[in-house]
């Protein structure tokens, strides 16, 4: 009798073991940096949004093909040019089991408009938002807004109750280094929920069983394990410790491809890498001239023409980049091939420009760089240091981790810095609103031009597409002629994964694990 029980017990354990083995599907995901914060409104930064996107949802969203479709809203209509009415899904539950209602949507949009939010520029044209009934939301905009849906696709909806209970009514003040509950915890309506968060080490996402959507993935768990060092990341992938790397180092693609168990996919990314030069400060913080050479356009142009972008493309990016003339890429409203042409690489012209500007012997400057954000970011900066050295500019490179880099940039500490910009709304307005408008939050070159500001207002409120496009074209021409920034290239991203892992690659570099599977 006893031995029978024992056999039963053993069989039971065996089956439990077997079933957990076959059902527990975990994707181990790695990239060089981590999400900066779990608060979905605190930092408008690629990897941060990548993580939020798995947990939180918005009224509308971009699918695998990057087209806008319904998510928390089922349908919407404009009752007049400045009034939008959204009907919400009625079966949406947060991962704690409470239902999502229009109250939560209204709360979230207002939350994303708070001063500490980094997403307020997305919805700066929204003048009022109110709940008409439990599942209907009305949004008013200042002017007719042709890109409201694009903008709303990045405003994540949080639970009003959860935020109130956890002192997270306003977004975390990331720039000031504030720590809040919402920065280390998350609670959304998305297909996954975060059960463990160790910043820069490990983040565990578990399948949200209360998710409203049609489950197309077969995952039970995702683990995000950031590995900063490129070689270590590749070694972890090749040894099987990691399943997918969403920023495979360009120099290692051939090695990964040669492995029978791995695959590499590449796509042009919706991100442009550029250098910023502070043109407003009276005196550079790191300069040695006592004034600000960047105030002169000749100096900015000299920097521009001293950079051999083809060499960077060939040697640093191994061919996986597209030299850029403006900070936007094909597919964005307002992009043209003509605008994207670069000034020619010409060291002698650059030297002449410097001499004309009154700096024949160059000057000292500090270049600030992230070292764990963009593809080969530090290597690009090192190359730039050498190229500027050829025209007599003594550049001191200061590369550091992205969280510090971004924080210090926002704190106005950079004279000359690297930044990359994606355009989630696929409209030029987004670029101008963040990077070029006078006093904009990421306009750290302090560029200011009344004509550009006026054109931005037109982009926000003009429904006549021809007039709107004319305004965009004009604004691009002004900033391009002014050399407000020094564009480098459009990034190409490569994802490397095990062959049995299927995560569709997307040009905004955001994995959507709800469409992923593991065999």
């Amino acid at each position: 009798m006893k031995s029978k029980n024992l056999i039963k017990f053993l069989l039971a354990t065996f089956f439990v073991f077997l079933s957990t083995q076959s059902f527990a599907k975990t994707i181990k995901w790695s990239m060089q940096g981590d999400s900066l914060t779990l608060d979905p409104h605190a930092q408008n930064e690629g990897p941060t949004t990548m993580v939020s996107r798995q947990v939180y949802e918005a009224l509308v969203t971009r699918g695998l093909d990057m087209s806008i479709g319904p998510q928390l809203a089922t349908d919407w209509k404009t009752t007049n040019p400045t009034t939008w009415v959204f009907n919400l899904r009625k079966d949406v539950k947060f991962s704690d089991g409470t239902s999502m209602t229009s109250e939560d949507v209204v709360f979230s949009i207002l939350r994303a408009q708070q001063p500490t939010s980094d997403f307020k520029e997305y919805i700066s044209t929204v003048t009022s938002v109110k709940a008409l009934d439990e599942y209907t939301v009305e949004i008013q905009t200042r002017d007719p807004n042709p890109i409201l849906l694009n903008q709303l696709s990045n405003i994540f909806v949080m639970s009003r109750k959860w935020c109130h209970e956890n002192f997270a009514i306003v977004p975390q003040n990331w720039d000031a280094g504030q720590e809040t509950f919402s920065a280390t915890n998350s609670m959304g309506t998305g297909p996954f929920k975060i059960t463990l968060r160790e910043p820069n080490t490990k983040t565990v996402f578990k399948k949200n069983t209360k998710w409203w959507g049609n489950v197309e993935h077969n995952l039970t768990q995702i683990q995000l394990l950031p590995i900063k060092n490129a070689a270590t990341r590749v070694a972890a992938l090749l040894s099987g410790e990691i399943d997918i790397v969403t920023d495979a180092p360009v120099q290692d693609l051939a090695r990964i491809k040669s492995s029978a168990e791995h695959k590499v996919e590449s796509t042009p990314q919706m991100r442009t890498i550029f250098l910023g030069m502070d043109q407003a400060a009276d005196k550079l913080r790191s300069g040695n001239t006592g004034d600000n050479p960047f105030k002169k356009k000749e100096v900015r142009q000299a920097f521009y023409q001293a950079i051999d972008i083809e060499a960077i493309k060939k040697k640093v990016m191994r061919g996986l980049s597209e030299p850029a003339g403006i900070i936007t890429f094909p597919g964005v409203t307002g992009y043209t091939k003509e605008l994207d042409k670069r000034l020619p690489y010409d060291v002698n012209a650059a030297k002449q420009l410097l001499a004309d500007a009154g700096y024949p012997n160059g000057f000292d400057i500090e270049l600030r760089c992230p070292n764990d954000r963009y593809v080969n970011d530090e290597a690009i900066c090192t190359a730039v240091v050498g190229m500027l050295g050829k025209i007599g500019i003594n550049v001191n490179l200061f590369a550091q981790t992205k969280s510090k880099h971004f924080k210090e940039l926002k704190d106005d500490q950079g004279d000359f810095y690297m930044l990359g910009w994606g355009v989630p709304t696929l409209d030029s307005h987004y670029v101008f609103h963040y990077l070029y408008e006078s006093g904009a939050s990421w306009n750290k070159v302090n560029f200011s031009d009344p004509e550009v500001d006026a054109a931005i207002r037109v982009m926000e409120g003009e429904v006549d597409l021809d007039k709107r496009n004319a305004a965009i074209a004009k604004a691009w021409k002004i900033v391009r002629d002014n050399i407000a920034y020094l564009p480098l290239h459009h990034q190409v991203i490569s994802w490397a994964s095990k062959k049995k892992v299927n995560v569709p690659i997307r040009p905004n570099n955001e994995p959507l694990f709800r469409f992923s599977s593991i065999n």
Binding site: A231, A235, Q251, K315
Partner: protein, 308 residues
């Protein structure tokens, strides 16, 4: 003048050390290797045509050129180039100069600190000796790399970032030196304890020679043998410590790389088949440390009276 030189030469030639040196092939080989390395490192401007520390002289298009004997290699870059187009051979030699300067300075720093503390402790004894020796015990319980990391971390905290790159090399010297001194203190104290009871010390004391003079003029030369042996082996350790710290990214900045920094930078390219960027600095470091160790071993065997 000539005859003086001659007698000095004869004295060296007749000494035990010279005899033992020419009888030891390993010592000769390692000494020759070291002389070549030292010469090339310290006169690197005359040895190589490139200055890898001058960013304006580099061309990015030269980057990732393999060593000259391989298919795509260029004759002007014998050991190939790194990711910034720097000639590997010159970069290694410039780098080894930094490694050697840091290593030597650190070991001299810890030698002076350790010997003066050990010597005075052994000579005076009492509470002072107890305090010094307990200090060495405490110091020995902290691994030297940890100690160096700690010093570097504190230095980063108190020195402004702009200054830090310039100060990095001094911080490194201090960090490594401070973690190596207990060896010297212990050895010199032990030797002093033996020496101070000898007749010549008593004689000096009786005729009223001051303590300082006795310690540094009479005892010090007699305890230098073991100290030098430790110093030689310590030099290899200091160079390795410098490379380890630079490999961990807390050493000298990448714009003026030492051997450890070079190995770290090259590490990123290991998988992509650009092996030479990390291999040559690494093998160079191995040869350097190995030669110093062999020479140190030979010195220990020769200078140790017990083995004779």
């Amino acid at each position: 003048m000539d005859s003086q030189k001659l007698t000095l030469f004869n004295r060296i030639k007749d000494s035990d050390i010279y005899f033992s040196f020419i009888k030891s092939p390993t010592a000769i080989v390692s000494a020759i290797i070291l002389i070549i390395i030292f010469f090339c490192s310290f006169f690197v401007e005359f040895v190589t045509p490139y200055n890898p520390f001058d960013p304006s002289s580099l061309s990015l298009m030269d980057a990732f050129t393999p060593p000259s004997w391989t298919e795509d290699g260029l004759a002007k870059f014998i050991l190939g180039t790194d990711g910034q187009g720097r000639d590997m051979l010159s970069t290694i030699l410039y780098g080894s100069r930094i490694s050697l300067i840091v290593g030597f300075s650190a070991i001299i720093f810890s030698l002076i600190l350790g010997v003066s503390l050990g010597l005075t402790a052994g000579y005076f004894g009492g509470k002072y000796e107890m305090i010094v020796m307990r200090l060495t015990d405490v110091q020995l319980t902290v691994p030297s790399i940890l100690m160096a990391l700690l010093v570097d971390g504190i230095a980063r905290g108190i020195i402004s970032r702009e200054m830090h790159d310039e100060m990095a090399i001094y911080v490194l010297i201090f960090a490594i030196g401070i973690s190596e001194w207990p060896q010297f203190a212990r050895v010199s104290r032990a030797a002093t304890l033996v020496e101070k009871n000898k007749d010549y010390v008593s004689a000096s004391t009786i005729i009223g020679v001051s303590n300082i003079l006795i310690m540094f003029k009479h005892i010090l030369p007699n305890i230098m043998r073991p100290v030098l042996v430790i110093g030689t082996i310590g030099l290899a350790l200091a160079i390795l410590a410098e490379s380890t710290l630079s490999f961990l990214g807390v050493g000298v900045p990448p714009t003026t790389p030492s051997l450890g920094t070079l190995i770290r930078l090259g590490n990123d390219f290991l998988f992509s088949g650009e092996w030479w960027i990390t291999f040559f600095p690494a093998i160079f470091l191995v040869i350097l440390a190995f030669s110093i160790n062999l020479l140190g071993d030979w010195m220990r065997d020769t200078l140790n009276p017990k083995l004779n």
